[in-house]
Amino acid sequence: MKITINVWRQKGAQASGRLVKYQVDHVSPDMSFLEMLDILNQQLISKNEEPVAFDHDCREGICGSCGVMINGLAHGGQLATTTCQLHMRSFKDGDEITVEPWRAKAFPVIKDLVVDRGAFDKIIQSGGYISAGTGSAPDANSTPIAKENADLSFDAAQCIGCGACVAACPNASAMLFTSAKIAHLGLLPQGQPERKSRVLNMVATMDAAGFGGCTNIGECSAACPKEIGLHFIGRLNRDLLSATIAGGSSVD
């Protein structure tokens, strides 16, 4: 396969960037999208040019590092697929592909396709924890959890923090990410003591980070490689509004 690729090149955080066109030959349909970028970088290195910087780690769809916009869709738009799990067989010989970094005020570009997703870490730091006694492990099943809640909590816990929800949202909102973190802990008995302070603090941190608000358009959930449902945003809203109206404190 021959692929023409328009990649966002930007030397550094302060530099201005632009799309640069490259030709990549000898692309196998069995390659992942990142392997195709590896081939491109090998070409650039052999020509003594700067390779394209992109984030990647596990390359098996669970670390959340590798998100980029491919032809205007986060992770390329395939259902439940991260960029590393997207294969070149979903493209045709001679295709022209545009690759851009996530765009959000809260996710500044560091270089080329690499963005700083530190804002997500700040949201987690502000409430993504529980208080539990240390010491010997409690007996198994000493805290019963309803099957439905356990399943739902696990659905939310699948979030890998890749940022596709923010990237795909027309408002660059982080509501799906934050809702997954809130629901993940809030659905379990261990998450109850900090339930109010968690939602108040995490939403305040989210707003302060410069993410937009949610207009319930649903692009986040459609782009999510872990298929986090929009209903988690409803749950976040419910928790935030009840904590606010009940006069919850941000300190428990």
């Binding site: 916009m69 937009g212 649903g218 209903h231 409803g234």
Partner: protein, 226 residues
Amino acid sequence: MAAALTLNQSTIGKKAIMAVTGIVLYGFVIVHMIGNLKIFEGPEGFNAYSHFLRVVGEPALPAGTILWVIRIVLLLSVILHVTAAIQLTRIDNAGRPIAYKKVKRKQASFASLTLRWGGVTIFFFVIYHLLHFTVGTALPGFIEGDPYHNVITGFSSQVWAAPVYIVAVAALGTHLYHGVWSAMQTLGINTRRTEKLFRGIAVLSGVGLFAGFATVPIVVLLGILK
């Protein structure tokens, strides 16, 4: 409950204000549409209903009390709804200072993507509509207290009026097609179990209100009502 006053401090709280005021205005447009359809009862029935709206509550209450209470509640709802919308739009636009060169949507509905433009359209239409049929300055030959005459004259003597109304109520229908469900989601009332119910109510509201509101200008334009 005093803590509810701090709602304005978060994006979710601002949206909750939009949702609650939106539901108030949604209730109003439903009653308004039903009222409009009373035009099929003829001049006496329609004008009597209009008169009832102005004197309802009398003589138990001073003249115009209920009318003005409703007007003030609606005006406050509009002010809060629009203020929150402007604030949120600015926050949302600031969320992505550098746009994508290429962007596609996977599933977003036309209604959800044009919610703000629908709101702006409705806002300006309401101003025109009040000058047209309530105050009468935008309608030559306006007769105070004879809404049947005003509606017929308005749509038959001004050829562009009916198309303007139809476009405006299409904007309203589209706004509610997304807005009614969105309000339930924002207030956290919507869950996985109620998802289909609220989506259904929203679609029905959008289509139903458009049909109900568009009927009157269309039948006048066709000369069915004279």
